[in-house]
Amino acid sequence: MQAHTEEHHIVPKRVYALVFVTLIILTWVTAWVSTVDLGRMNIYVALSIAVFKATLVVLFFMHVKYGSRLTKLIVCSGILWLMLLLFITMSDIWTRGWIGVPGR
């Protein structure tokens, strides 16, 4: 309870408007891009747009940009742990074909 004085930042309405318009545009951009043949890149483009949209929501709608360091730490650790779950497990899936599995 010491020194947690977090400033109460009121986000201006035009920031909300800007974020909102960007989110809507990106939604339709990502839908459109899926019909364009980018080969293997399609999934990466779609996920990049989703990550960007999610970042906007976290930073502005959820006020993390104006939040305390602790809030930022929590958000980062959440993303890190999700990545641990996804990537460490996928590293098993990706490498299973490399050499024969004993007993198979």
């Binding site: 977090e6 839908a31 899926s34 399609n42 999610a54 929501v57 959820m62 996928m90």
Partner: protein
Amino acid sequence: MASHTSAIEGHGQHEGSHDPNLKHHFENAEQQKETATLGMWAFLLTELMFFGGLFLAYFVYRHWYPVAFIDASNKTDVLVGAINTTVLICSSLTMALGVHYASKGNRKLLVMFLVLTLLLGGIFLGVKGYEYHDKWVHHEIPGEHFECHGCRDAGHASLFFSLYFGMTGLHASHMIIGFGVLLVLIWQAWKGKFTAKWYTPIEIFGLYWHFVDIVWIFLFPLLYLIDRVGKPLL
């Protein structure tokens, strides 16, 4: 630590005297508010990992059965999905504005934006229900009667639909819970329970609502937008 410990007189003795919303074990309103916000963030961490397990299953099976996932994903309606994404983003905006007006102490606009959020959430669930009904009609619900017309790998397409219903169903159940909480909040806001000094429930519910929105931001491309190359968008 022990021997030098002193005490501030009257430090914990103003409990509950002026602010009716202050619980007895907090020193002041600021501490209480930050505690509640931190609690919600910690809860959202839990929620993130909860959905994380499903996302992992999705990535594993998409890696193994790309053809089945393309064909099954093409059974979804992109237009409906995109419209629903738009609806949900609109509800996120109205929620953010609701928090904004709560912090200004504007009761009328707070209630209005909460009601708008509720309506948009309702539209989203309605559209989702329409989509589920469509899947039901086309026997695309995994189980004994599952069919996937024109799918090259119908066996594994059922995995896609298992995940489709698992993920969107879990998402929708979060929306429904949010819906219920929102009803209570609207009623409380209408009664004038929230002030510019104390609107913590509105603020932390906003965090929850935006989180649910973020989950959908990922579900939309992963479930609807796999390899639509050469197909019209509309």
